[in-house]
């Protein structure tokens, strides 16, 4: 029952909150205590746009626990406008139609749950950017 662990990730999962290094401008998602580029320790909290281009993707057929209902589903690495890359599922699409370079946008979606009576975990997934 990992309630605290999931609750702690709320700012990142619900709002795509990231940390922009005050010294070198590098954006960390998730935020960190130490900038991996310049070693500085001070960050400004920003919210990522969630808009980006598909860098690579795969279609998962044998799904990990809790994800079977959606299999086969696409997971991709998307480079956001801000230059940050994030990994997430791509939903509301036919995986066969995806192409590297496609424009995608994030939506708030249900990611998993701890069984039928346990906690529900929400987060971000990508959808094709067609203005819906």
């Amino acid at each position: 029952m990992k309630v605290a662990k999931h609750w702690r990730e709320t700012p990142e999962r619900y709002r795509l909150e990231a940390g922009k290094c005050k010294k070198c401008g590098h954006i960390n998602f998730p935020n960190r205590l130490i900038c991996p580029e310049c070693g500085a320790r001070e960050f400004e909290t920003i919210r990522l746009s969630g808009k980006g281009k598909l860098e690579t993707y795969t279609v998962i057929h044998t799904a990990p626990d809790g994800f079977a209902d959606l299999a086969p589903y696409a997971v991709g690495i998307v480079e956001l406008q801000e230059g940050v890359k994030i990994l997430a599922q791509i939903t509301d699409c036919n995986p066969a139609d995806l192409k590297i370079g496609d424009p995608l946008v994030t939506k708030f979606r249900r990611i998993n749950e701890e069984g039928k009576t346990g906690m529900i975990m929400y987060g971000y997934k990508f959808v094709p950017d067609n203005g819906l």
Binding site: D69, L70, T91, D92, N94, R110, N130, L132
Partner: protein, 349 residues
């Protein structure tokens, strides 16, 4: 002071299932369902969608049109009969996703299909009372119909969210009236997976009595006649009831045409009339009069009279239109995938 809608937004899932597909499995006569309900297909939520996700996405769209500082929202209310948790509010998830915690009020509403307009009613009146600058009222559902039951053809999913405020309005609230009695037409007991209903009892003593009761009282209170309205939206459990009720009450088809979504959407329960209102706002002109009448089993109706403003035209295209979410990029499911998505299949624990 004037209060009303500052911004509105919606979210409808991409998946659909046709009446024929459901009828095929249960050996039912599809044409008679389609005709009897004036219903062709309904929306189906993806396994990764629920009332929380639909509401968050609808509310984010509403904020795009509202153009306000979200930190000035004093309360968020979500009405649904399929909240993700039986105990733990959907409103807290919405507030956290919008980033407006912790100095904000929330409560979850339920009253069968009128939980959405309840949320809207309370949001409007809190702003009117002067205790807060903005409040969100949203109606969302991912309701289920029992397999093989008549309600399976129509129970669908969607969300509409409204940012209520006192300035920069797209629609001014002119009047409200609520009509409510204790009527056992449709209910779901704690722990039951599917709701039960009173069959034909759900017509005259329930839907008709409360919708007409609310409309008649509203018209009298506001000193208005049916022909004074440009648009009307009634709660739409199927494509028939709202049309019959409207015609019987003296309204005409062009008035309810744009707000009647059920034929291609199904019954989105707490989002039903709120989505009809959003679809109407998508096409209305400034200074149009709109009558919104919801219905919730148990039973009651909330009536609202809105008058649109110039600002509606300025902000309308800042978020997706209802018809775009309804008509574009639809994906049709066959019954097996639909049953899997809606967790109607018994799986091992």
């Amino acid at each position: 002071m004037d209060v009303g809608i500052v911004g509105y937004g919606t979210q409808i899932p991409r998946y659909r299932i046709k009446v024929e597909e459901i009828a095929k499995v249960w050996g039912a006569d599809a044409p008679s369902y389609k005709k009897g309900l004036n219903l062709n297909e309904k929306s189906v939520p993806c396994p990764d969608e629920d009332v929380a996700t639909l509401t968050v996405n609808a509310a984010r769209n509403a904020l795009l049109r509202a153009g306000i500082n979200p930190m000035e929202i004093g309360a968020v209310y979500v009405g649904s009969e399929s909240h993700p948790y039986a105990v733990k509010p959907t409103g807290t998830i919405l507030a956290e996703a919008l980033g407006i915690c912790p100095h904000v009020h929330t409560a979850d509403f339920e009253f069968a299909c009128k939980a959405g307009t309840e949320a809207m009613f309370v949001a409007l009146h809190l702003v009117k009372s002067g205790v807060m600058k903005y409040a969100i009222g949203a109606g969302s559902d991912t309701s289920q119909g029992a397999p093989g039951d008549a309600l399976e053809y129509s129970a669908s999913a969607g969300s509409a969210a409204y940012v209520m405020g006192a300035d920069n309005l797209v629609a001014v609230l002119e009047n409200t009236h609520c009509f409510m009695t204790d009527t056992p037409d449709f209910w779901r007991r704690e722990g039951a997976h599917y709701p039960e209903h009173g069959g034909r009892f759900t017509g005259e003593p329930a839907y008709w009595k409360h919708v007409s009761g609310a409309v008649n009282a509203m018209l009298e209170k506001a000193n208005m006649k049916p022909e004074d309205f440009n648009y009307i939206i009634f709660h739409q459990p199927n494509g028939k009831f709202p049309a019959q009720a409207a015609l019987k009450l003296g309204f005409k088809e062009p008035q309810f045409r744009h707000g009647l979504l059920t034929p291609v959407l199904g019954n989105t329960y707490s989002a039903s009339s709120p989505l009809g209102l959003a679809a109407t706002l998508d096409v209305a002109n400034p200074d149009d009069k709109i009558l919104l009448v919801s219905y919730g089993s148990g039973a009651g109706s909330d009536a609202f009279i809105f008058r649109t403003t110039d600002r509606l035209l300025k902000v309308r295209n800042l978020a997706p239109l209802v018809r775009k979410q309804l008509d574009e990029y639809k994906v049709y499911l066959e019954y097996g995938t639909y049953a899997k998505f809606r967790r109607k299949i018994l799986k091992p624990e």
